[in-house]
């Protein structure tokens, strides 16, 4: 049962095949069997999960059939959960019990979902391998020697290993899509502004976006139905009507135009990944789509611009961690400056500090125009590239990552790590919706395909992914954890 998609679980719950309490217990058992190896969860909320499950069962008995009622899930530890530790993968917040719920959490609570716990992540969502977490790296269920991707690596590993029915993630430069690719699951980043950021701990405010990490595009649509919508608590939340994101899932792809960015099939792409994506594109042609090569001439600058914008915003967003009102404070500070400097140096890990430094430098006197302003101009060019592309095509498809999951500790050079997100970052800079779905295997490791839509074209992106999943079974592949469990 635990291997089922959220949609399947919901129908099993509806049919009375299983109760939410039983299902929740099954996941809790699975977590206790495998979390030690995977390190996917930072916090497990056994008691409250079972209480929520019980409440869900009662509601269902009273005729409530809300789609995700009683489905057990996990939240990335970046979402504030009232009364539950919310660490953001950092020593800085290792003791922070959030005094309120993120809107995303509120929405899932209102939908009757059961929260199993909080998943591991790169510290403050800064990383592409989940190795920067204060709570240790997450391991990829397909190969425990490999990374699950990041920063939402805990959620991705938990989904891949069936430790939960669905999970949330956040994506600033690829943090949902890249781990989804590495773990062979579905990860969807909606348009910027589609999902409220209230209660989601900020990394880079103009780029961060929450989204589903799950087992199918259909699940992503069901979760988006819960997550999306205007939230007056977030000024950047879009006042654009939401839709039923499952409504378009049945539409044929006949006549749809798919853009293939030549820059995404260039140097650096591994042959295994390239072959799988080209096969997937051939599958789309069979489904009636036409392919068209497109040009994203400024894509190669996206990583550069991103590593100004994101660290700059982060450098300010992370100034609040000063040891005064909550979180970590160093022992026995001799004076104020010592308190600030030691609290922050001991509370943050190396990658976070590095990005704060880069962002601080980029904003400092004399460099603003050359860095921050320049990056914003590049950001405009990147957005313009997509605007031009979407005049001709309905979606843009390419690989999510240049290669499959790499080994733990393999990438010690930050720049090499940053280039991991070469295909996903531009989408954040432009604020577009993008999904990664499994599209093949190479040497026993999953390959992710990246489907990008125009602003607020969530439904189309989800359907293009869904049609592929109806025709293929890559998303049904499961890692073998028999040797990994206890």
């Amino acid at each position: 049962m635990i291997e089922k998609t959220a949609a399947e679980l919901a129908s099993a719950l509806n049919n009375g095949e299983i109760s939410s309490v039983e299902l929740t217990q099954a996941y809790l058992d699975r977590i206790s069997a495998h979390n030690e190896q995977l390190n996917a969860f930072i916090t497990v909320c056994e008691e409250s999960a079972l209480n929520q499950a019980k409440a869900a069962d009662e509601k269902r008995a009273n005729g409530d059939s809300t789609p995700l009622l009683g489905v057990p899930m996990a939240h990335k530890d970046i979402f504030c959960t009232e009364g539950v530790t919310t660490s953001c993968g950092s020593r800085m917040l290792h003791n922070f019990i959030a005094p309120y719920n993120a809107t995303v959490v509120e929405n899932f609570n209102a939908a009757g979902a059961v929260m199993l716990g909080k998943t591991n992540m790169d510290e403050f969502a800064m990383g592409s391998s989940n190795e920067t977490s204060f709570f240790g790296p997450v391991r990829n269920p397909w190969d425990l020697e490999r990374v699950p991707g990041g920063s939402s690596g805990g959620s991705a590993a938990a989904i891949a290993a069936d430790l939960c029915g669905m999970a949330t993630g956040t994506d600033t430069g690829g943090s949902i899509r890249q781990p989804a690719a590495f773990c062979g699951i579905t990860g969807f980043k909606p348009s910027y502004g589609r999902v409220s950021r209230w209660g989601m701990i900020a990394f880079a405010s103009s780029l961060d976006q929450a989204g589903p990490i799950c087992k199918s595009a259909e699940d992503a649509a069901l979760m988006t139905n819960v997550m999306a919508g205007l939230d007056i608590k977030d000024s950047t939340s879009a006042d654009i009507a939401t839709e039923d994101y499952t409504a378009q899932l049945g539409q044929s792809l006949e006549g749809i135009k798919i853009g293939i960015p030549k820059q995404h099939f260039a140097e650096g792409l591994s042959t295994g990944v390239e072959q799988s994506i080209r096969d997937a594109l051939a599958e789309y042609e069979k489904l009636g789509a036409t392919l068209k090569e497109i040009d994203l001439p400024n894509n190669h600058l996206s990583v550069s611009a991103y590593y100004v914008v994101a660290p700059a915003e982060a450098s300010a967003n992370l100034s609040r961690y000063d040891g005064v009102r909550y979180g970590y404070r160093c022992e026995n500070p001799v004076d104020l400056e010592d308190m600030y400097k030691r609290t922050r140096s001991e509370g943050f890990g190396d990658e976070v500090k590095r990005r704060i430094m880069v962002g601080t430098y980029a904003l400092s006197a004399g460099f603003y125009d050359a860095y921050y302003r320049k990056a914003q101009k590049i950001r405009r060019l990147i957005k313009n590239d997509f605007d031009a592309a979407f005049k001709d095509v309905d979606v843009v498809i390419g690989p999510t990552s240049p290669h499959t999951a790499f080994k733990l500790g393999a990438k010690t050079d930050p720049v090499a790590m940053y280039l991991e997100d070469i295909y996903t970052i531009a989408v954040n800079l432009a604020g577009l919706p993008g999904i990664s779905i499994p599209a093949g295997m190479s040497d026993g490791l999953p390959i992710g395909m990246h489907i990008v839509g125009n602003d607020f074209a969530e439904s189309r992106v989800l359907n293009v992914a869904h049609q592929f999943q109806l025709a293929t079974d890559w998303h049904k592949q499961k890692p073998d954890l028999s040797g990994a469990g206890s």
Binding site: C80, T86, R320, L363, S364
Partner: protein
Amino acid sequence: MEWETVIGLEVHVSLSTKSKLFSGTASEFGADPNTQANIFDLAMPGTLPVFNEEALRMAVKFGLAIDAEIGKRSVFDRKNYFYPDLPKGYQVTQLDFPTVGKGSLTINLEDGSERVIGVTRAHIEENAGKSLHEDFHGMSGIDLNRAGEPLLEIVSEPEIRNAKEAVAYLKKLHSIVRYLDISDAIMAQGSMRCDVNVSIRPKGETELGTRTEIKNINSFRFVEKAINSEVQRQQDVIEDGGRVVQETRRYDADRDETFSMRSKEFANDYRYFPEPDLLPVEIDDDYIDAVRATLPELPDARKTRFAADYGLSEYDAGVLTATREMAEYFESVAKDSGDAKLTANWVMGDLQALLNKNDWTIDQSPIQADRLATLIARIKDNTISGKIAKTVFETMIEDSAGVDEIIEKQGLKQVTDSGAIEKLVDEVIANNPDQVQQFKDGKEQVLGYLVGQAMKLSQGKANPGQVNQLLREKMQ
């Protein structure tokens, strides 16, 4: 050498909204520490700002009042620095696109002259909290009640030339924001604060000299003293062959001098950038017109009207309209008493003296407008004389009873009964035969003495006009 002083003022005015600039937390003065500090105000992870529409309206109102350009698109920026009273580690402010652009206001100087001072801009920003330095085992306490309250920072052009002009400018600003009812603007409570930029240059020079900034001065009087002391210091430095260093200074009122605030090893670098949690604020002409329609009568307009309607001198009209409360007080008394001239004399004379002596604002005056109006009406209808009125006024400070009750209680009512006055007059004539004779011999001025004697006899209560007339008649 003859020096010219160049002064620019940055005035922070606390906007009197009910809730904070970006959160729904109450923003009252004087609450228990940190009882007005909620999750956003404490910069809890994941919290986000939402803009208070009233702060915007108040800023636009101010802009219209000083005839300024209104920014139809204003942008919030982050100003980054670390301080324990700044929870987010940045202050949200408006750098390049403020809500209020160039405007001006007219200042009134003591010699009766006027000058127009340019306002460069006024922008909306967040207040910081407060550090309390009482000793908590060698630590400081942080109160964040004020953190995130809306401020309007009003920046003047460097067009102010001396300390008196600076004070006149501040008083005018104070008056305008009070008329607009957008701030309490109480310097002692910090709801109006002032940073002063001062430089000097040889007279005739057009380049600006190096300026220093004197931070956080908390009264009009100290602004004047701080400027004078800083100007003197800068002259001394230059005349001794030194040069002024650009720095932040603090005014020590006890020593009446400014001193340098410890500058850190590295200069401040605020790393401003557009606040990504907020979007540009856009307003249109309809919005601006709607705000314009709510503008009250402003000090300059009211001054002109008072002069015309009440026959007051320019000077009196200026004094009486300097604060909204004073103007409203005056107008209420003048209307109820029916004598504007007499009202002006009383308000600017006895009442002002009373307020000055006790350091009271008009709102704190024990002589409320309706009581002063009755007092003046009693002078007009001859119930009491002007002299007795002063006694009544003194009593009113301590006694909150009605004016008529006080007059009655103390038996101060003027004697107008002709029989009683005749008795008085007869007594005076009988007691002063010499003076009576002198009067009869044509020495008119003796009459004043005799009237005075009669008044004394009546303990001031006799109607002097009646006494005067009867004395004349009897001595013919």
